[in-house]
């Protein structure tokens, strides 16, 4: 397990996929057609048509920025100011006071990490002094591993033998990102992974369907309808190595090193401009139809969970608060029962469960991200039939720990690579 890095060959699953290639896509079957020969002659003869003439500049097309669907330009409203006023000028710490007592791994604070790692410092005041002293020696040393633990849930509506019901998959994930040269980043997902009927009523329907081991959910896209399989029961954890050279995170289309992260601007205007630049670069952002506002919001929310300087984290919150269409939701409770301040992304997205809204829950006392969640706004008929009402949180990812550690996490023996 030491090295779970992807090899650049074609391991197993890609082999399976390669073998499944439809014959219509086999180049050997496509060679030497009359059209191929005709085209060559035509092209060499210099014939062009208007269509190709128009596509003279592929470069231009790369950008491919099509702001699909105008984002509702609601002015930044008062409620989002709550976040600003709470966070501005304060230190939005990356560590929640309720973090698990990770005393053994929370040793390497520096002065900035001391403010960043308030909870850790409380664990052992002596360590605080040590770390402050240590900081004087090595100003850049924040810690070795930036570690987050998350608890997530996904809900979907499935069909089995005419029975419609909801299933939920819950699991825990750990991500430990090595920021020093020579360290690795490991992500373990699917810990305690369980897929089960969501409620007792759902369980009854599942039983009525004969307690099938796998159930199908609807998936729909522009291209049509399809199904998504769920296996009832427990799943195995999976481990992945996530670093590539010195790059430890992706920010938009770019991979960034720890150094890159530390150099991000702490001025919110500058930070926003940088994030907007990423949008312009990121063709996939445009492809998914996410508008610029949603994109910038996404990146800013990601930044908050990365080991950036406290001032940058604060700037990221300010960027979010000032985006058009972002709404404050006031005091809310996250799915783990923790109280925080809610922020809603602009607009809603259409899913098979109905229209949904994306929300963040932030701890106003520390600025820590508590949770990202997807809430049903207008349930589809299917969702309603399965007992999912408006306001139901269908998916969430709650952060239960975010702090520096000195030791790499251990990977469970049964983890898949």
């Amino acid at each position: 397990m030491k090295n779970t890095r992807v090899r650049s060959g074609r391991p197993d699953v890609l082999r399976v996929l390669a073998d499944a290639r439809p014959d219509e896509l086999d180049p050997a079957r496509l060679a030497d057609s009359p059209r191929q020969h005709d085209d060559l002659a035509r092209i060499l003869a210099g014939a062009t048509d208007s269509r190709t003439a128009r596509s003279e500049e592929p470069r231009r097309l790369w950008a491919g920025i099509r702001p699909l669907g105008t984002v509702v330009a609601v002015a930044a409203v008062a409620a989002s100011v709550v976040v600003v006023s709470t966070l501005d000028g304060q230190d939005p710490s990356g560590v929640r006071a309720s973090a698990h007592p990770q005393s053994s791994s929370a040793t390497a604070g520096s002065a900035s990490a001391a403010s960043e790692g308030r909870a850790d410092v409380q664990v052992d005041g002596r360590l605080e002094l040590l770390s402050v002293a240590k900081k004087a020696e090595t100003p850049a040393a924040e810690g070795t591993y930036w570690q987050t633990t998350t608890r997530s849930q996904d809900v979907n509506v499935v069909d089995a033998k005419g029975q419609l019901f909801a299933v939920r998959t819950t699991s825990t994930g750990q991500w430990s990102v090595g920021v020093r040269p020579g360290t690795q980043s490991l992500m373990v997902s699917g810990l305690d992974d369980v897929t089960a009927p969501r409620t007792e009523a759902d369980k009854a329907r599942w039983r009525a369907a004969g307690s099938p081991a796998t159930v199908q959910a609807e998936a729909s896209t522009t291209a049509g309808q399809g199904t998504l399989g769920y296996r009832i029961g427990t799943g195995r954890p999976m481990v992945m190595r996530t670093d590539a050279d010195d790059k430890i995170y992706a920010l938009g289309p770019r991979n960034v090193s720890y150094q890159d992260l530390r150099e991000l601007p702490s001025n919110s205007g500058e930070l926003r401009r940088q994030l907007e630049k990423l949008y312009a670069e990121d063709s996939s952002g445009a492809e998914t139809g996410a508008g610029r506002t949603a994109y910038v919001l996404r990146q800013a929310a990601d930044l908050i969970t990365m080991p950036v300087k406290p001032a940058v984290r604060a700037a990221a919150y300010r960027v979010i608060a000032n985006l058009p269409g972002v709404r404050g939701l006031g005091r809310v409770t996250d799915p783990l029962g923790r109280e925080g301040v809610g922020v809603a992304f602009p607009g809603t997205a259409r899913t098979p469960l109905g229209s949904v809204q994306q929300q963040l829950v932030v701890d106003p006392a520390t600025g820590a991200m508590l949770c990202e969640q997807v809430v049903l706004v207008e349930p589809s008929a299917r969702a309603r039939e399965a007992g999912l009402d408006a306001g139901t949180t269908v998916d969430y990812e709650a952060t239960t720990r975010m702090s520096w550690g000195e030791h790499q996490i251990t990977v469970p023996k049964n983890a898949k690579h």
């Binding site: 992807v6 491919g64 796998t214 990812e397």
Partner: protein, 204 residues
């Protein structure tokens, strides 16, 4: 071996001969055979005009051009594009009329195609560039216009999701698949599907 003395025309012929079927296969996977032939034709028309710019190997560059042309088509004529994409979807989901394979083989293939169809467009594109169109990860990165490092992470995740989808597909139920994508935007596209990791961004 050929060197600097090769004329542009000869170089173009060589590239054309070597890459035409592959570009057509790629274009067909995006927009079906008929429109795919037009896209392929346009791709090489662009290539001929820019013959000095064609890198070695040429294929990733050509697929990049083809990809742009398909996008341009989508923007210019969404109706035609939708029809063409539907045809491509039919091909990629393995809904073929001819049945010549061993039964078990067909089942495996359909399971793989069904699993593939359940992934996001981005995952499908990446996985098929490598598994079907024969690109190395580095070349795929070039086509997709991202860094190799980004691609490595994306590929890792896409593979994982494909594995998961394969597990979820019960080989018994073959049905004609039309699955397409994990529920879009159940989780934000960026952090996406991809749970903790992606949320930090590594994604897409």
């Amino acid at each position: 071996m050929r060197g600097w003395r090769v004329t542009h025309a000869q170089r173009f012929r060589d590239v054309y001969e070597e890459c035409y079927p592959r570009v057509l296969a790629y274009a067909t996977s995006l927009v079906g055979r008929q429109v795919g032939e037009d896209i392929t034709s346009e791709t090489f028309t662009v290539a001929w005009r820019r013959v000095r710019d064609i890198p070695q190997p040429a294929l990733p560059w050509l697929l990049g051009v083809a990809r742009n042309l398909v996008r341009e088509l989508r923007r210019r004529d969404s109706h035609q594009y939708a029809l063409a994409a539907e045809e491509a979807q039919r091909i990629s989901s393995g809904a073929r009329s001819d049945v010549g394979d061993v039964a078990a083989d067909v089942t495996d293939r359909e399971a793989a195609l069904q699993a593939l169809a359940s992934l996001s467009d981005a995952d499908r594109e990446l996985l098929t560039l490598i598994a079907w169109h024969g690109l190395s990860p580095k070349q795929a990165a070039r086509v997709l216009g991202c860094t190799i490092a980004t691609l490595t992470v994306r590929l890792h995740r896409a593979r994982r999701r494909l594995e998961k989808a394969l597990e979820a597909v019960s080989p018994a139920e073959t049905a004609s698949v039309a699955a397409t994508q994990t529920p879009p935007s159940r989780v934000p596209p960026a952090r996406a599907p991809h749970h903790s990791a992606d949320r930090k961004g590594a994604l897409t």
